[in-house]
């Protein structure tokens, strides 16, 4: 397992939206950091998984938490597709058609602006 400190989260504010980009492996050891970053969002949240090398159910749970919070707050939530290994987790979890997946953050932001 890679040391946890090789995991990093990058948060970029873009207007009212927050893009949270995770780098490295999302698992039990690292998910707290990502969760904290995601919770800081108060509008549209875009979770960028492009640089994620691995994700387990901890990450999946976080994604569902974010979705549930977005639904409750009426804020948007989008996931930028990650590598196949990561997408496989969504596939297994049967969430492929339930979440809003985009290919890059700009796509989510563009849509977000149209909505507002």
């Amino acid at each position: 397992m890679l040391p946890p400190d090789e995991f990093s989260v990058e948060v970029v504010r873009h207007g009212g939206a927050v893009i949270v980009a995770a780098h490295g492996e999302i698992d039990m050891a690292t998910v707290h950091e990502l969760r904290a970053a995601c919770r800081a969002a108060d509008g549209l949240l875009v979770l960028d998984l492009r640089a994620v090398e691995f994700m387990d159910t901890s990450g999946l749970n976080l994604v569902m938490e974010c979705q549930r919070r977005a639904d409750a707050d009426g804020a948007g939530f989008a996931v930028v597709r990650g590598p196949a290994l990561v997408m496989r987790i969504f596939e297994i979890a049967g969430l492929n058609h339930r979440l809003r997946f985009v290919d890059d953050p700009a796509e989510a932001l563009g849509d977000g602006r149209k909505r507002s």
Binding site: F54, N61, M64
Partner: protein
């Protein structure tokens, strides 16, 4: 003033001498004339009266000689009356002798006077040259200059200096008689108004002002008012000269000299020239004095500035001797005053401290920046830990040294600036220490091991020794950790504590600190204290060997309760424990105490968790007719005290429901959720055997929960009809089971949504027939996510390869277990559950009557 009185006396002597000359000359003339009268007309010696002026010329000045000469000439003229020789050649010859003799005497006297004057002027100038060496203050220089000028070249002299654009009277001097009164007058007077020949105009016009004859009209112009006029008149001025004092092209002030009518002197053009030369010298002297003064002022200011600095500053000469030290330097180096420091030998100053580098290694004197700079090298600022040999106090210093070089580039001085950074450094060390301790404490649950690491972090930063004692539950304190930089000493200390365990009831020391939960500091450990603490002679000897000089014992606190003690001992370093050390040690102990307590609670909780976990799994897998079942459950390490994986096998109407599931999260919450999931699936399946029903029911239960509760399940309903078995597989967010037929493994099942995410969902079943020898392997994602070398994951492909060619359920499980163990690197991160179900054939006769009946009736109904 004594000098001035002596000079006043010399003026008196001079005046008396001149009066004597005149009197003597006149007396000789009178005497010779009387003799001439007495001798009658036949003997005529009147020509000898020329002796009068000649004699006077030896003593008096030209004016005196002229007076006596005129008197002698007069006597010689009237001598014709008594000598009755008015019309003789001899009379005129004698007269001519007297006149010419008197004239010669007058000239000689004048010549002598000029020589005397020039000599005294020269004396004045050379005297002034002596005061230009610049070691006197401005005032002292002016005093000396005026003392030289008066009375030799003037009856009074005043020096004014320009001070912020205005003239300030620096000094005055007047000759006797009336010197004191004149000086008062001259000192108190403001410079005369502009446009008058005074010091003010000399400075403003930069030209000399000569007044040959000061008449009353001039005095009126010079005077500020009537009172001032009266004062000026009282001075009896005859001639004055005011000359600007110029140095380096600028006016410094003015030199004013004057003679009084009383002295009989008068200034002329020649005197003006002399005074101008004099003023040049005076200006130079004053300028030098001013520069010197400025330098002194700068030095004084610099000295004041340096002495008020918090940084210690010392200045060394090239050969190493200290020539300057400020207050801070004296304080830092433990001297009462900078003077005391300067007086001390450098070797003693250095020897008063043990110096160490930042890494704790001893520092050689040659490595000090000052030494390096003296040796002509460049030196970077150096951080030094200095421990006072006298007090044991530890200070951190950063020393910077700079060379002062002469024109040839040789080092003449070294300026050392030493900054006391103890507070900063201590804070830094504290933070670093606490951060490291935090990491160590978080790294393991084995408290003996972590406490040993904590103790090792504390030396030698905080103390020479560090030990941790915990109660052993049998009335003694157990030393669980000892650290010293020397391992031999550690072994020795362990030996001491093993041979002489401290009873928890022991008065004082760690036992008392534990009882009171308060820290103890002893900065001067005496042999008596050690003797009192010793249990017998050998113990006393051992304690003495530890070389304890100061001790700090702080409680290991868990909340307000002391669960142990942290002991810090100062030995060979000789350092004392200061309040900040106590603070740091207490903080360290608080963290360590909390960690130990957490570890204890954790261990306790782990036991509970294990019990809980076991309760959530079936006690043993039931025997299912016609099927062989084998399970593998690998909970993750102690850190993951209740995992979320579960498996179950439930008999349902018409078959068996086997399932593997995984709930999100860990701990009590996950345990509760696991209980809910198992219970819901079991109870639903008993009534409604269709796995879709059980899954849907569980999803409704989970989505109804306030808190997000996610769960994934792979459920397989095993049924048998006419001896042929089939399996209905439903996946809810779970990895699909592997179907192993003819040794080949392939996933079977459709991806369906995980449970607890959305309430309105649907799942699809996949039905496969299961021939004997065919098996299904259900597993949780812990299998796939198992971490191997380089962070690789076990993954689906490896799992399929592992189970390819397996011969039985037991074989499948055993191979998976072995493969995971082989593959895994580091601690297991997640729970792992595997359930393998193999179709072994039709149930043996007589064993499954009830099921057979059930299945038979089912078959009838469906046909």
């Amino acid at each position: 003033m004594a000098a001035s009185a002596a000079e006043s006396r010399s003026i008196g002597v001079e005046n008396r001498r001149r009066a004597l000359g005149v009197a003597l000359g006149a007396a000789v003339v009178i005497a010779l004339a009387l003799i001439d009268v007495g001798l009658g007309a036949n003997e005529v010696i009147i020509g000898t009266v020329v002796l009068g002026p000649l004699l006077c010329g030896v003593i008096g000045n030209a004016r005196d000689v002229a007076f006596v000469g005129a008197f002698a000439t007069g006597v010689a003229v009237i001598s014709g009356v008594w000598n009755e020789n008015f019309d003789t050649v001899a009379y005129f010859l004698r007269l001519a002798v007297v006149v010419s003799g008197a004239s010669i005497a007058m000239l000689a006297s004048a010549r002598r006077w000029t020589i005397t004057r020039d000599r005294s002027r020269f004396a004045v100038l050379s005297g002034i040259a002596d005061v230009t060496d610049g070691t006197l203050t401005l005032e002292q220089t002016a005093e000396r200059v005026t003392a030289l000028v008066v009375p030799a070249a003037a009856d009074f002299c005043a020096i004014d200096v320009l001070d912020q654009g205005d003239l300030r009277r620096l000094t005055v001097r007047a000759a006797d008689p009336g010197a004191a009164a004149a000086e008062v007058t001259l000192r108190s007077r403001a410079p005369s108004p502009p446009g008058t020949p005074s010091s003010r105009d000399a400075v403003t016009s930069l030209s000399s002002q000569l007044v040959e004859r000061a008449d009353d009209a001039l005095l009126r112009r010079l005077a500020h008012d009537d009172e001032d006029l009266a004062r000026l008149r009282s001075l009896g001025l005859r001639s004055t000269i005011a000359v600007p004092l110029m140095a380096r092209g600028r006016a410094l002030g003015a030199l004013t000299v004057g003679v009084t009518t009383g002295s009989g002197r008068t200034y002329g053009r020649e005197d003006l020239e002399f005074v101008e030369v004099l003023a040049g010298r005076v200006a130079l002297a004053l300028d030098n004095a001013g520069l010197f003064f400025q330098l002194q002022t700068i030095e004084a200011q610099l000295g004041a500035a340096l002495s008020s600095l918090a940084e210690a500053v010392t200045i060394q000469r090239a050969e190493g001797a200290l020539i300057y030290a400020n207050e801070a330097a004296a304080r830092m180096l433990e001297f009462d005053s900078p003077q005391a420091l300067l007086a001390a030998p450098v070797a003693d100053i250095i020897a008063a401290f043990d110096s160490y580098r930042e890494d704790g290694s001893p520092l050689a004197i040659e490595e000090l920046p000052g030494r390096k700079v003296l040796a002509g090298e460049d030196a970077e600022p150096l951080v030094v830990r200095a421990v006072s040999r006298a007090t044991g106090e530890e200070r951190w210093r950063v020393t910077k040294s700079t060379a002062v070089r002469d024109r040839e580039g040789h080092v003449t001085l070294v300026v050392n600036v030493i900054d006391d950074i103890t507070d900063v450094k201590r804070a830094e060390i504290s933070q670093r220490l606490l951060a490291r301790v935090g990491k160590v404490l978080a790294s393991s649950l084995d408290h003996d091991q972590t406490l040993q690491q904590v103790a090792e972090l504390a030396v030698p930063q905080l103390a020479d020794w560090c030990a941790v004692s915990l109660p052993d539950g049998r009335g003694y304190l157990r030393t669980v950790a000892v650290a010293h930089i020397n391992p031999d000493k550690v072994a020795f200390a362990r030996l001491v504590s093993e041979q002489y365990p401290t009873p928890s009831s022991s008065p004082g020391g760690a036992a008392q600190v534990m009882r009171d939960a308060t820290s103890q500091v002893v900065n001067d450990v005496t042999p008596e204290m050690l003797a009192a603490a010793a249990q017998d002679d050998q113990h006393a000897q051992m304690l003495a060997q530890l070389g304890m000089r100061a001790a700090l014992v702080v409680p290991l606190l868990a909340g307000a309760r002391a669960i142990g003690a942290l002991v810090l001992v100062s030995a060979e370093s000789g350092r004392r424990f200061e309040p900040r050390d106590v603070e740091l040690a207490e903080e360290l102990a608080r963290r360590a105490g909390t960690a130990v307590e957490n570890a204890r609670l954790y261990t306790e909780r782990s036991h509970i968790a294990r019990a809980l976990q076991t309760g959530l799994l079936p006690d043993a897998l039931p025997a299912i007719p016609g099927w062989q079942m084998e399970a593998l459950y690998r909970p993750a390490g102690a850190e993951n005290w209740v995992g979320g994986d579960f498996y179950d096998a439930v008999e349902v109407p018409g078959g068996w429901l086997v399932l593997v599931g995984d709930v999100a999260g860990h701990g009590a919450e996950a345990a509760a959720l696991t209980g809910l999931a198992r219970h819901t699936l079991r109870s639903t399946a008993r009534l409604l055997p269709d796995p879709l029903d059980a899954i849907t029911k569980l999803n409704l239960e989970l989505t109804a929960r306030e808190r997000m509760s996610l769960c994934t399940v792979a459920a397989v309903l095993l049924t048998e009809r006419d001896g042929a078995a089939q399996a209905e597989i439903v996946c809810a967010g779970h990895p699909p089971p592997l179907l192993i037929a003819d040794g080949q493994a392939a996933p079977v099942g459709r991806f369906g949504p995980m449970l607890g995410a959305y309430c309105e969902e649907h799942w699809e079943r996949v039905t496969v027939s299961v021939d004997p020898g065919t098996m299904l392997v259900l597993y949780t994602d812990g299998v796939l996510d198992t971490v191997g070398e380089h962070g690789h994951r076990f993954g689906e492909t490896r799992l399929q390869q592992t189970v390819t060619g397996v011969t039985s359920a037991a074989d499948a499980v055993a191979r998976i277990d072995a493969a995971l163990r082989r593959f895994e690197r580091g601690a297991q991160a997640d729970d792992t559950a595997v359930l393998a179900v193999e179709r072994v054939g039709a149930p043996a006769r007589g064993t499954f009557q009830v099921a057979d009946v059930g299945l038979a009736s089912d078959a009838v109904l469906s046909s």
